[in-house]
Amino acid sequence: MFKLIIGRFISMTLVLWVIVTATFVLMHAIPGGPFTAEKALPEAVLKNIEARYHLNDPLSKQYLDYWGNLLQGDLGPSFKYESRTVNEIIAESFPVSAELGMVAVSLSVLIGIPAGMAGALYHNRWPDHLVMLFATFGISVPSFILATVLIYIFALWLNLLPAAMWGGPEFTILPALALSGMPTAFIARLTRSSMLEVLSQDYIRTARAKGLTPFHIMWQHALKNALLPVVTYLGPMIAAIFTGSFVIESIFAIPGLGRHFVTSIYNRDYTVILGITIFYSVILVFMNFLVDLAYLWLDPRIKIGGEENH
């Protein structure tokens, strides 16, 4: 168990190192540097700017400096907005994204798991077909389409909810729904199929032979085992919700991290792009690590299997 956690931790560190190095290399692979794209600056001005951002240092020194700053939690200045640093941008906009993401994650878990359970309980009957139909639609409709359809129906047509911006709880509903569409559908499918697998096992037959009700069997005996694949999916799901939020935040004009990311892409504001990429990656990799730990904790069989089988 302990060995396994250490192993996961080492691979997590390795992943983060690869990410930071790759982003750094990508940043410096851009021909001409970030300031030559704008209209031609005088030679001296360009030199000064490059000196200010240490772009004329040797690459190895820049790399080490970048790491040095990164380890102190400093992602550097924004190239586009002179007075702002990447840290400020993240500190300002991350809470908004986190709130939206949290609502979306809760929605997809709270809708997806019961829907999947219903599908398994009524296998091959109409509730099952209904769940599968909705779930397949859910994974087929991209979030940006779902978002615009929701805006059209609830904001423009029925005039029930605000179409954009960020304020009270009523502003959260539409973007959270749009964001959680695909993960909800995926969780429902996953829960359904793993629940069906668990339900076909012998210990469930024993429980049934004892005369327990199907609902009781499902709730008390099957659910914990059936949720293991869902827990594994939580890591990628959080990633899906985060990346989905790039577009959703842009569509709904929500001042979150995702919108800054998309804007910084339009502006070719390289330090912000890189800073946010690294920030997102760290969060996602860390989430995956937590999910791995939760998985180990939930399923004791893995401890033996993981070490003996190799």
Partner: protein, 299 residues
């Protein structure tokens, strides 16, 4: 009591009552019974025909501007209406289908070319080679891919070719894992041992025996990874990093449609339906294919 042995040919047990049905035919029969999968196949064929013949049959070209016809609602002349530059949306949606399907084809080639080969080699040789190769996959898998595709697109500058490159760098990982797991199990079977004793080379074992026998999972992974690639392209184009104007990818059309949603909602309608329908077709078909190729997995 007659205890004399039955003559073999007279035995009912050895009589084949029905014509022999091979695995492929069996799977096809199962697939044919699945209505959703057949509907999915129908959608895929329909979209493919649209992509191939649609632009030829249309009187307009995807980039023809006609400002007098700007923002026309759907009519007999323009089935899906026109956009803000007077371009015919039906034609542009057909061109979008070309782009999306070519993305799908390229993603499959990458999956087959890199993923299958990588997974096959890793699983076949096993041991140290396998652990090194799989650690590499694990590390790449840990990296949030969409972020990296986005970052690559910033560096590479938008364009169809670069969408292909970005997909190529990242879209083979799952296939590699699945093929490796398959091969790992298959290579212990007796027929592989027999082939080895008969002197089959590594190459022959991998390509002649192990990979063909992993075909089921390979095909299923393939069909389910195509909609993912199509979605990624639409997503990239939507945020301005994919195919650039005047080319018409569904993502580009959708992002143009979002801008004019309030005044001309029909402009979003056509690309939105096209993307969703295609994804739906591939997902239904992929699900059905999995059930048909592996009936034990049917649930």
């Amino acid at each position: 009591m007659d205890f004399s042995p039955l003559k073999p040919e007279s035995s009912i047990a050895t009589k084949t009552l029905r014509p022999h049905i091979g695995f492929r035919r069996d799977a096809w029969l199962r697939l044919k019974k699945n209505k959703a999968a057949m509907a999915g196949l129908g959608i895929i064929i329909f979209i493919s025909l649209l992509a191939i013949f649609g632009p030829m049959l249309s009187p307009y070209s995807y980039s023809d501007q006609s400002l007098t016809d700007a923002n026309q609602p759907p009519s007999g002349a323009h089935w899906f209406g026109t956009d803000n530059l007077g371009r015919d949306l039906a034609t542009r949606v057909c061109y979008g289908a070309r782009i999306s399907l070519s993305i799908g084809i390229v993603a499959s080639l990458i999956n087959l070319g890199i993923g299958v080969l990588y997974g096959g080699v890793s699983g076949y040789f096993g041991g140290k080679i396998d652990s090194v190769m799989m650690r590499i996959v694990d590390i790449l898998y840990g990296i949030p891919l969409l972020l990296y595709v986005i970052l690559l697109m910033v560096v590479l500058k938008p364009g169809l070719m670069n969408v292909f490159i970005a997909l190529g760098l990242v879209y083979w990982l799952r296939m590699a894992r699945i093929v490796r797991a398959q091969v790992l199990g298959l290579k212990e079977l007796e027929y592989v041992l027999a082939a080895r004793i008969l002197g089959a080379s590594h190459q022959r074992l991998i390509f002649g025996h192990l990979l063909p026998n992993s075909l089921g999972p390979i095909i299923v992974t393939l069909t389910l990874s195509i909609p993912e690639a199509i979605f990624t392209e639409a997503f990239l184009s939507f945020i301005g990093l994919g195919v650039s104007a005047p080319m018409a990818s569904w993502g580009v059309l959708a992002s143009e449609g979002v801008v004019t949603l309030r005044s001309y909602p029909f402009q979003l309608f056509a690309p939105a339906v096209a993307i969703s329908l295609t994804m739906l077709g591939f997902n239904f078909f992929g699900d059905g294919l999995r059930d048909a190729l592996d009936p034990r997995m049917r649930r």
